[in-house]
Amino acid sequence: MNLFTPLSWSDSGFILTGILNTVYISVVAIIVGSLLGLLVGFVRAESNKSINMLLGAFLDVLRSVPLIIQLILFTTFIGAMGYPLNPFAAGSIILSLYTMAFMSEVFRSGFDSVPTSTIKAARSLGLNYLQTVRYIRIPIGMRAVFPSWLGVALSVIKDSALVSVIGYMELLRTAEQLISRTQQPIMILIGVGLFYFMISYPLSRYGKYVERKMEI
């Protein structure tokens, strides 16, 4: 029996699955979270105090409880309710909601950043409410917040590592398992760090570049 075996080429498929799983759940969370965030952000920018308070309180909880606790609590809770979910589904739901909580603020500020005078100008041309939203507010508002959007998206990729606690075999959990087997943490951890860095760094640079360009 061989408990400890060194890292070998045959592990690359295993690692690749971990990487793909990380990418997969991050992409799902970013897309779903952004769409929900767009909707919620719009509702918040448009609606009166009481609706805002309600929505705000809900978003507040998502932002004030550690993601790791949310993940554990949600999987356990939904299972106890009798609707067991696999780690991917449960992780996607929580990560998407968590993303939404931050995205909605991003988009809300985007909508708020469109000057009322520009909206009035559009209305004065005869555009109706929905046309103004569709052709003026969304495109202008979204452009303004692209860097912040990217910032949230990148933090989601990094936070996706936490989905490992509910058993989703993403990159970091894959790495952990390999570390258990090989007892070689350094090489494996550095590899993992590099992977995140290689995704996150260029994109964050790009975000800064866009931000600077927009300032001019």
Binding site: T75, T76, P84, G167, S180, R181
Partner: protein
């Protein structure tokens, strides 16, 4: 339908979701192909086989075991779960299926003649395990304090911590320690004293209210002993026959 229970569910579904802690060799670990292996994994497979369903081994940490049951991610956890009365308020235990001793593994050169020697060294164990609780109980009764104690998220982390030198001694089960020692990676370490006056009797766990299911599991365990499968797997994973003491104790406890 309302009267269907877990047993029916599993058979109808055609897969058994069986939770195992895969960082607890030789009870559970991943082999060089990163596939689950170990005594508990074989128990899962045996159980699936007698049910006539596919075996799906689900990898858990110690802390995951209960959440995985409550959230119905697993149907049963074959995870060396100590059958404490506190836990039995929350989950349903089967008859015992294994008995461990809690033992100290320490660096060579660290004086470890008796359990009391732990007082003066850095000691650690996996968080939330029964041996952690037992150690605390003992340490508290002697008034040692907890400054020299480190928790680890998992069994593997604890061994990695000992290996790296974060701690001088750890507490784990005799089986786990024996396996680690035979692996050759822990040559600089020696097995030490047992936790005094404590046998760790472990059972399978399932949801507390699934009585029919638990009954079935009980019968399965009895058959594992009766059919010689326990002994076979003990030979396979520990290299020795199962001791008559343990068999006796399993039979007594039932």
């Amino acid at each position: 339908n309302a009267s269907a229970d877990k047993l029916d569910d599993v058979i109808k579904r055609g897969t058994l979701n069986c939770g195992v802690v895969l960082d607890f060799p030789p009870m559970g670990y991943t082999d060089k192909d990163n596939k689950p292996a170990g005594f508990d994994v074989d128990y899962c497979n045996d159980l699936a086989a007698v049910l006539g369903v596919k075996s799906e081994v689900i990898n858990l940490t110690w802390g995951d075991r209960i959440p995985s049951l409550i959230s119905a991610k697993t149907d049963v956890v074959v995870g060396s779960t100590s059958d404490t009365l506190a836990r039995a308020k929350s989950v349903g235990f089967t008859y015992p299926y294994f008995v461990f001793k809690f033992q100290v593994l320490s660096k060579k050169g660290v004086r470890m003649a008796s359990f009391d020697d732990l007082k003066d060294v850095k000691v650690g164990a996996a968080l939330g395990t029964t041996y952690e609780t037992e150690y605390f109980k003992y340490a508290d009764s002697k008034g040692w304090g907890r400054d020299n104690y480190t928790s680890f998220k998992s069994e593997n982390d604890a061994f990695l911590g000992l290996y790296q030198g974060k701690i001088d001694a750890l507490i784990s089960t005799n089986t786990n320690i024996a396996t680690k020692l035979t692996s050759g990676q822990f040559d600089g370490f020696v097995a030490g004293p047992y936790v005094p006056n404590y046998d760790d009797v472990v059972g399978l766990i399932a949801k507390r209210d699934e009585l029919a299911w638990i009954k079935y599991l009980n019968l399965f365990l009895v058959h594992q002993i009766r059919d010689g499968r326990l002994n076979e797997l003990h030979m396979k994973h520990f290299g020795t026959a199962v001791s008559p003491d343990m068999v006796q104790s399993l039979r007594d406890n039932k």
